[in-house]
Symmetry: C2
Subunit: 224 residues, 2 copies
DNA sequence: TAAATAGTGTCTATCAGACAATATCGT
DNA sequence: ACGATATTGTCTGATAGACACTATTTA
């Protein structure tokens, strides 16, 4: 039994997006055994002949399962052990990815065909393997990084207002939809006023049923 | 060729310690091919039949190579790809560990027998595989965590003075021995005065050629 | 004009860095 | 007493949170 000598190696992806003031994570239904029928994070077995590294494996998983190319993808942590997969010793490198709302393709948005967005804080009854734990791990890391850095920018569409950016941050920092975190408007704007990562689009405004709001975009050359 | 179907899986450990105001990382000389004779981080190939998870593999590596049991060991990041090991597709889960100075066994301290402590900021000419990159990655993570949390406590001996603790933090935060970072004494003591993670040992003092210093120890129940 | 949201200004408690002052030991 | 380090105290500039105020649009 080769499984006793070599572990299964795969890459899983926690793909997050924000819609309707909800932080969502993408799940796919497993078609084959083991755990057939259960919801799982999109993932793929490593193909040493085709994948140059693990990020390639992760991106291939998204391509194969949901036909998506994400702008931001980072490795998070590795889950491994003898008991997390019934087939034997397995190793899964968890990645997390962020998808701006306006880049969600129609095939994913429609929530059919074994693909759905789940509430990141309550992804469902029982998930395949240790994916519930993986989601929680990714959820925590996401909240952590929003506190420090400018990571939420990866979730914004091409153009956005400061209020929209603040909503996204509030959603990510909240433990769940029931206990929303409210950030102070003044402090929030102060913080991003000093940031070189966003610039305002001159003359561009978001119009609603009230005073229009200045539109911003991510600065050119912004990475990470 | 099985290597074309299954990657090599291993766990490497960056073991840090502070001595003589230097941050050091432990290296072992490779005995067998590939890269025989080069210095490398201690590591071990995954043994699915014996290792329950990757932390077990990492701890086994330290046991086998240098007969050391470390109190603190954490997973850091996974390095993988087709070109980092001449044998083919390989995957290595980098861990990092901290060893208090008074727990360094004699066999390691003596720096013989294919084991040596290297300067963490200049580990040497050429190391095996991508281990130079791995050390730099671990070095950065260590500096980062010292900024935020109370991680340096894992590097302290059973009892220590606040000045000793401050030295360790300064060494870790410094880019290298040439440009030492100096922390303010008052601010440093303020920070740890509020911390519940250390407590003073009543009546215990460190005596030198000057005013004795209060000794502290890590609080019971302190983890991470 | 009213409603609603955008955007700005101000006050304050907190905190880190800088630095001075005092305390207590060995010699 | 002196040198050296420990320990404490004070001042100040920067900052985040709270909150009030003004501005500008649509209806």
């Amino acid at each position: 039994m080769v499984r006793q000598l070599y572990p299964l190696v795969s890459a899983d992806v926690a793909l997050f997006s924000v819609a309707d003031d909800r932080l969502q994570v993408l799940l796919v239904r497993r078609e084959h055994a083991p755990e057939a029928g259960l919801w799982a994070l999109p993932g793929a077995l490593l193909q040493p002949l085709g994948d140059a590294d693990l990020e390639a494996t992760a991106r291939r998983a998204l391509r194969e399962k949901i036909s998506v190319e994400v702008p931001y993808l980072a490795q998070l942590r590795t889950f491994a052990g003898a008991s997390r997969d019934p087939r034997g010793w397995s190793l899964s490198v968890l990645h997390f990815a962020l998808l701006p709302r306006d880049q969600v393709p129609a095939v994913v948005r429609s929530s059919v065909d074994g693909v759905r967005w789940a509430d990141a804080d309550a992804p469902g009854r029982r998930l395949a393997f240790d994916h519930a734990q993986q989601i929680q791990s990714a959820r925590t890391a996401l909240r952590q990084r929003v506190q420090d850095h400018d990571l939420p920018l990866h979730l914004m569409p091409e153009r956005f207002t400061l209020t929209q950016l603040q909503r996204v941050c509030e959603v990510i920092l909240s433990p769940g939809p029931e206990q929303p975190v409210r950030l102070d408007k003044g402090a929030f704007r102060r913080r991003f006023a000093k940031s070189p990562d966003i610039v305002e689009v001159p003359g561009a405004f978001e119009h609603g049923a009230q005073r229009p709001a200045q539109l911003f975009r991510v600065a050119t050359g912004f990475q990470f």
